[in-house]
């Protein structure tokens, strides 16, 4: 009981997040994962966040404006393309909810870690570092095979 109380007192009252659109859904990532936001550079294509999370691309969204988020991955970074508006803001602790048990058990999205309820509706809280790591772990065997074909 005392240990739980101590943990609750350590938890921040607010979480700074960077919100964006992906596949037509409101998403947000812990701001601590974001190194920078840059305008989309057609000469430097970034990884679409829909592809990273396993979301279907929003056809209307392809016509909208996009930005690039540089996501920290250790000493390196990965450029991820997201749809505007991109905003840095805070979510109150009370607005953030763990994934309900059944959703956690059967959801197919990569990196979905929590949900937030805000006046505008539902926000999908995503762990982009985890999603990138998961993607790399799936790609590594394929690359290994390409380098060492049987």
């Amino acid at each position: 009981m005392n240990h739980e109380k101590h943990e609750n007192q350590d938890a921040p009252q607010k979480l700074a997040v960077v919100s964006f659109l992906a596949g037509g859904y409101r998403c947000a990532v812990d701001a601590a994962q974001v190194r920078a936001q840059l305008p989309q550079d057609p000469d430097k294509p970034a990884l679409p966040v829909e592809q990273l999370l396993g979301l279907e691309a929003d056809l209307y969204g392809e016509l909208g404006f996009h930005s690039t988020l540089l996501i920290k991955t250790g000493d390196d970074e990965v450029a991820v393309r997201v749809m505007d508006p991109v905003q840095l803001h805070e979510l109150a602790q009370a607005a953030i909810h763990p994934l309900p048990g059944l959703i956690g058990a059967c959801n197919q999205l990569t990196g979905l870690c929590a949900l937030a309820l805000v006046p505008q509706g539902l926000v999908l809280l995503v762990d982009l570092q985890l999603a990138i790591k998961s993607r790399n772990s799936h790609l590594a065997p394929a690359l290994l095979h390409a380098e060492n074909p049987v």
């Binding site: 048990g101 059944l102 959703i103 959801n107 999205l109 949900l115 539902l122």
Partner: protein, 171 residues
């Protein structure tokens, strides 16, 4: 012709006395929440239902099975919502005013269940519940654990443990 005092009468008299000597023990009853799905009646054990809520705004969560419609805000907490209409292939009513959300808990999990009109809470004895028919449609076969009658209507009793276990195994 008079049958009074006949052998048959004597036998029947003895048999009736034997029947009267059977001690009736009060069979324990269980509560069941009775509700509609389409044109059919269903029930879930009362101990598996925490609360009955009015229909509210369901927020869609992508990446879930089609029968898991999203989440609902229940006094500041969010709960998942499963559509029993979709799961059991029944037609939802034309208006959401005729729908309710049952807050169910089983298999260590909790979820809202989108159903039609909640009709009643019944007290049923185990002897009133029969085994489900072997000819149930596939969508219902796994979820229905018993059948009973209520006001001459058949009621299919659902087992929430099986339902939630299937979701945990990702259906």
């Amino acid at each position: 012709m008079s049958y009074a005092g006949s052998d048959l009468d004597k036998i029947l008299s003895v048999r009736r006395q034997t029947g009267a000597e059977v001690i009736e023990v009060d069979e324990p009853t269980r509560k069941f929440v009775l509700f509609m799905l389409g044109e059919e009646c269903f029930a879930i054990a009362g101990e598996q239902i925490r609360e009955i809520l009015p229909m509210g705004r369901i927020f869609f969560v992508p990446g879930c099975p089609a029968t898991l419609e999203g989440v609902l805000n229940v006094r500041g907490d969010i709960v998942s919502v499963i559509s029993l209409f979709a799961l059991l292939e029944k037609t939802p009513p034309a208006s959401t005013l005729e729908e309710s959300i049952l807050l169910g808990h089983a298999a260590g999990m909790q979820s809202g269940l989108r159903v039609g009109r909640v009709l009643d809470v019944l007290d049923l004895r185990e002897s009133q519940i029969q085994a489900p028919h072997a000819t149930l449609p596939d969508a219902m076969a796994r979820m229905v654990c018993g059948i009973c009658m209520h006001k001459e209507w058949p009621v299919s009793i659902l087992d929430l443990n099986r339902l939630f276990e299937d979701y945990q195994r990702r259906l």
